[in-house]
């Protein structure tokens, strides 16, 4: 029996806009096992960040359930939610804007400890902050530095230390390395893998960078316009992508090698608007294999082989 840490069931998040209802996340279900990393990929506007935030209730979900250790996060009141936040934390994309510019490294990392009142004495508090800095590889001399004095990689380490301050079980990593240079990106990715190993953390890793996601994830979910189109084991997804969108997405990644030639599937046009989406498959308008049924009926996510889920009518044939 797999030990499911997080279960997301029929999660929906709609936003009211001037032009109508924006379906940011539309009926998405998945679960994450303890100690696992689930990668969430998709292009801008597909709802991947919204999922991450809705799980933590930084956005109030419109519908559905989010179970963390069997407790429905969406039904908690304010106090209960605050207590549960110790168990789940988030690292944001842009370390340049997600830190308070008027707080020093020490204050930023210590803030969650103060809010949750977990330290009994000032001494314990200081020790915890220094311990966290060491964990994420920040030199002690930076303790009084302000964010503007740090480079992107170090700022992101502060963001990670903050998220780890309360010993969470589950972390949402929302594009944690996309603002960083490649050499720094590798340092931060290694740090996150090490932390997962040492502390048994569970990650939801959100990114648009497929090679990064492949590197760090056990399973990968592909999103398109608020819907999950494919979910599979990492190796399986890259070896045998089934959904036409996944195929196009994988083929679009430029490969830094000369000995590999990929057959590129070029998609026509742009991602359509998620405001009042048409019935049927969301990808139908750009899909080369679109059938009549695709524009009428929304495909459900179905298991086509053990652990491999696809939402596409083509799989029915």
């Amino acid at each position: 029996m797999p030990d499911k840490l997080l279960e997301v069931k029929h999660l929906k998040k709609y936003f009211n806009t001037k032009n109508g209802l924006l379906h940011a996340v539309d009926d998405v279900s998945f679960d994450i096992e303890r100690g696992e990393t689930l990668g969430l990929v998709g292009e801008s506007g597909c709802g991947k960040s919204t999922i991450g935030r809705a799980i933590l209730r930084l956005h109030e979900p419109t519908g559905g359930e989010v179970l963390l250790n069997g407790v429905d996060v969406t039904k908690l009141n304010k106090q209960e939610l605050r207590a549960l936040r110790q168990k789940m934390q988030i690292v944001f994309q842009d370390p340049y804007s997600s830190l308070d510019g008027r707080k020093s490294v020490f204050e930023s990392i210590g803030e969650p400890l103060v809010i949750q009142k977990v330290c009994k004495s000032k001494k314990e508090y200081e020790e915890r902050v220094y311990e966290l800095m060491e964990t994420v590889g920040l030199a002690e001399r930076l303790v009084n530095a302000y964010p503007h004095e740090l480079d992107g990689g170090r700022r992101q380490r502060v963001g990670i230390a903050r998220a780890l301050a309360l010993n969470p079980e589950f972390l949402v990593l929302d594009e944690p390395v996309s603002a960083l240079d490649v050499s720094i990106q590798a340092q931060v990715l290694n740090l996150m893998q090490q932390l997962q190993k040492d502390r048994g953390l569970t990650y939801l890793f959100i990114s648009h960078n497929l090679s990064v996601v492949k590197h760090i994830s056990d399973r990968i979910a592909v999103m398109y316009l608020g819907r999950m189109v494919e979910l599979a084991d990492c190796k399986q997804l890259f070896k045998n992508p089934v959904h036409p969108y996944t195929k196009a997405l994988l083929s679009a990644v430029p490969i830094p090698r000369l000995d590999v030639k990929t057959e590129r599937i070029l998609l026509e046009g742009d991602v359509p608007s998620p405001v009042n989406p048409a019935p049927g498959c969301r990808f139908a308008g750009r899909c080369a294999q679109c059938m009549e049924r695709c524009t009428a009926e929304q495909p459900e996510l179905r298991e086509i082989e053990p652990g491999h889920f696809v939402a596409c009518h083509l799989c029915d044939r």
Binding site: G153, D181, A252
Partner: protein, 328 residues
């Protein structure tokens, strides 16, 4: 390959002067490019890539920027010596530039056709109607319906805005195109569309191009030559095959090692230790020495010169220059 190079940069040095320090943005840079060729300029933030191309266009903010020395020959003419008036004739006509962020490089209060027509009228003259017609043709060329020419930039998506910028850059058939991270702000599937378009147009018009990028995948796809920049210098230069198949400089090797490979299973990435140096206080000797796993005493003392290790493949590293290739 023609002997006569379209672009030749010789010993270019650019500094930024702040009130208490000098930023050594580009130091002693040499590059050349022939007709129809594409050069990839690769490096991390602060390596001096954008400063280099901005000095070709002469659009560096001066002050604080200052071209300390060097020559930039375009078609035999030193661009650093021509008058501002003549430069305006070259900019947009002979040399065009595509900027990184299509969201901010278009004028929000002009329709896109008017913006493209503006370049055409400025350089090729002609009536408003003719220029407008040509602008619509350009839009069609990059795959945008000409009717949409009367729309404003905010009505387009990111990928389409970048196409408009490309259309504008190509409007006067420039011989030389500078693309500063043209696809960084775009999603992968849209990036694939734009790259495909640029490849097609390059083949069609035989435009020479300098492409700034930090994505080695894009380099593999589109570039003929590659220059790897680190802290204001070119540390390795060669054809695409040289850089990918016989990588020589430790920094270039480090770059390859820290990108996750989609085809192989690897448990841990090998990051380059440390950070890019402070450009106001560069290390003595080789600039990469504090981060280089193979650094020797000589690397800490003496600045390495560019050495041709095989025809057309230049590397600035002591290890390769005489010291034997320890890491082969």
């Amino acid at each position: 390959m023609a002997n006569e190079k379209l672009l030749e940069i010789k010993n270019l040095t650019v500094h930024y002067q702040s009130y208490d320090a000098t930023v050594h943005a580009v130091e002693n840079l040499n590059l050349s490019l022939g007709n129809g060729e594409t050069l990839g300029l690769v490096g991390e933030t602060g390596a001096g890539k954008t400063t280099t191309v901005k000095s070709i266009m002469r659009i560096l903010p001066t002050p604080p920027a200052r071209v300390v020395s060097g020559e930039i020959f375009f078609d035999g003419q030193d661009l650093l010596k021509v008058s501002e008036k003549e430069m305006r004739k070259i900019r947009g006509k002979e040399i065009a530039m595509i900027f990184q962020d299509p969201m901010t490089s278009l004028n929000p209060v002009m329709t896109v056709a008017d913006q493209i027509a503006e370049v055409i009228r400025l350089h090729d003259g002609g009536s408003r109607a003719e220029a407008h017609k040509k602008a619509c043709d350009m839009l069609e060329l990059v795959g945008i319906r000409p009717e949409r020419g009367s729309d404003y930039p905010h009505q387009f998506s990111g990928g389409m805005k970048q196409r408009v910028v490309i259309a504008m850059a190509l409007a006067c058939n420039p011989r030389f195109l500078i693309a500063d991270e043209p696809t960084t702000a775009l999603d992968v599937t849209i990036q694939a569309q734009v790259l495909e378009l640029m490849k097609k147009l390059k083949a069609q018009y035989q435009t020479a191009m300098v492409m700034i990028t930090h994505d080695l995948g894009i380099v593999a796809e589109i570039c003929d030559y590659v220059a790897i920049m680190y802290a204001g210098e070119v540390v390795e230069y060669g054809t695409r095959e040289h850089i990918f198949n016989s990588t020589a400089h430790p920094y270039t090797k480090g770059l390859f090692a820290c990108i996750p490979d989609i085809f192989t299973e690897q448990n841990e990435l090998v990051p380059i230790n440390g950070l890019t140096p402070d450009p106001t206080d560069l290390p003595q000797g080789c600039r990469f020495n504090p981060r280089c796993p193979y650094a020797t005493e000589r690397c800490r003392q003496e600045h390495p010169e560019n050495v041709e290790i095989e025809p057309g493949h230049f590397v600035a590293c002591h290890l390769i220059n005489g010291g034997g290739n320890e890491n082969a």
